[in-house]
């Protein structure tokens, strides 16, 4: 009789929570987006970077410079330029590169294809190994297994990915000749070759994720095991396995999940050195090269994609966390 309205209320509350999280993310996204893009735009205007310098070199005549700048629309008022760029972005257009006139959306797409492949595999490896090691360490807390895992996590967390990368190339590509040492083949040309090309850089990048996730999960689980509700569940006669999966894991995995969410954007964008070692033309390298060349439209594009990526991932993690531990949404 009364069950229906209660069920409806509950469903509505669940949906409401997701919507609130969504609204909060959008609320954060909009100002961050505007401030970040506006600042880069303003920096361009102030630094005097211009396509004319890139194309004509240092000793170009003022007329030639003016010509090129008006071709690019740079002689128009600042806010007009910003508005034009902004409306283009809403249509998915980031404009063309000052350096080579290529379409920036296409360039970013290519770079993202490479970087996302590597980052996703790295994240999967990092999450699986990290969650596994963290769980084992927490269940065997205080024993030599726990100490060995904690030690291992510390060791691999201080090894920079480029060093790991070089060692992996030495062992698997040069020494054992099992895997290619570099380059990239898109998954359309076969999953096998694609995986063979991305697995080593992904492994190199995953070490850091493994270490962080394992440590966060271990800490989270150990402190969850100290909570009274574990004792409560024990007294009600629930089995240790059920207590772990239903009660401890659920409350202890929040920080580890948040770590995974924070790691992903940096795996995509901040792996320039690793991309160099493995000869990958990824998103990180594209960002780096564009910034060094003073290619402002490309940098703007990179910025927008990065902001979207970070905000989207935070949103996803917040929704998952909201479902796993509802109390965390209230700041309890």
């Amino acid at each position: 009789m009364a069950a229906r309205p209660v069920l409806v209320t509950r469903a509505r509350r669940g949906l409401g929570r997701v919507l609130v999280t969504l609204a909060r993310s959008v609320g954060i996204f909009i100002p961050v987006f505007f401030v970040a893009t506006f600042v880069t735009f303003a920096l361009r205007a102030m630094s005097g970077l211009s396509p004319a310098r890139l194309q004509l070199g240092e000793d170009a005549t003022p007329e030639a410079i003016h010509n090129i700048e008006s071709q690019w629309g740079l002689d128009r008022p600042f806010l007009v330029q910003y508005w034009h760029w902004f409306t283009d972005v809403l249509h998915g257009q980031f404009g063309v590169s000052w350096v080579n006139g290529a379409d920036i959306s296409t360039l970013i797409g290519l770079g993202l294809g490479v970087s996302l492949s590597v980052a996703v595999i790295a994240l999967v490896l990092g999450a699986v190994l990290g969650l596994g090691l963290g769980t084992v360490a927490a269940l065997r807390r205080g024993t030599w297994v726990d100490r060995a895992i904690t030690g291992f996590a510390t060791v691999i967390s201080v090894m920079p990915p480029f060093v790991v990368g070089i060692v992996l190339v030495e062992v698997f590509a040069v020494g054992l000749d099992l895997l290619p040492s570099g380059g990239y083949i898109p998954p359309e040309n076969g999953i096998g070759p694609w995986l063979a090309h991305v697995i080593l850089p992904a492994l190199a990048l995953s070490f850091d994720v493994v270490a962080d996730v394992a440590r966060q999960l271990r800490t989270g689980l150990v402190s969850a095991y100290r909570e009274n509700y574990v004792l409560g569940a024990l007294v009600r006669g629930l089995s240790p396995r059920r207590i772990f999966f239903r009660h401890v894991l659920r409350n202890g995995m929040g920080p580890a999940l948040a770590t995974i969410g924070i790691k992903f954007p940096s795996l995509v964008g901040a792996s320039v050195v690793t991309e160099w070692i493995f000869g990958l033309q990824g998103f990180g390298r594209f960002a780096n090269d564009s910034a060094q060349a003073g290619d402002v439209p490309a940098v703007q594009g990179v910025l927008v994609v990065s902001v979207v990526m970070v905000v989207t991932f935070n949103l996803l993690i917040n929704i998952v966390l909201g479902r796993v531990t509802p109390a965390s949404q209230r700041g309890v």
């Binding site: 509700y229 004792l231 409560g232 007294v235 009600r236 629930l238 240790p240 239903r246 409350n251």
Partner: protein, 282 residues
Amino acid sequence: MTTLTESPTTTTADPVLSVHDVRIRSQVDDREIVKGVSFELTPGKVVGIVGESGSGKTLTCRAVLGILPPHFEVSAGAIHVAGEDITALTPARLTAMRGSTISAVFQDPASYLNPSIQVGAQIAEVIRVKKGLKRRAARQRAIELLTAVHLRDPELVYGQYTYELSGGMLQRVLIAAAIAADPQVLIADEATTALDVTVQAEILDLLADLRDNAGLALVVVSHDLAVVAQLCDEVLVMREGEVVEQGPTDRVLYQPEHEYTRLLISEHEQYGLEKFLSREGR
């Protein structure tokens, strides 16, 4: 009306819980923390344990439940729950016994429920695991239990989280979860301590209700003599791990033999409200 511990011949039914000269030792400093506790409990009866904090009340209860903290062990004596020696049971048998034969509720009920799961679902979980009911039937049964512990609007409470409920409501939920698998013995360890006086009285009424209607045997642990006086047939007074006085509630309260019991009672008289009221009336 009460069962004397050392004379099983007077019992009308088999004891559901019998604790015989239990001693608990700390392995860290090799000290005996609980020095010989004995009592027997038959269905529908209530044993009270009073004493100051640190007197070994809670450790005794945890020994009975088989959940002594690390580095503590039962060094001597025997604990039988429904005829089985719990110190000899395998962990799996202990798990099977907890909840369905013996269960417990504690002080600070909010902390003994999972903050991330709806409280009703936690009761339903016990029913599904211990009684093998299907999801829907377990939910129905959980709502019946919430009604049985006198919660208004049980349907609504079912879907709420611990942070949405008051202390008194949470204690009712905790009791519902504890009795979900129909145990014969319920240990209430300071179950009313953190609650305000009116709620405390309601919870005590509820426990008395369960004793009368479900034939539940209760172990009531408290530092408050008033709680014990209201509910218990037999009282154990503990101090520094020793039982200094044990006997029928009326006898212990009206003719205390040990000076510590007298101290507890006189403190109650000295600081209790009755004293204050009688002084005012004079």
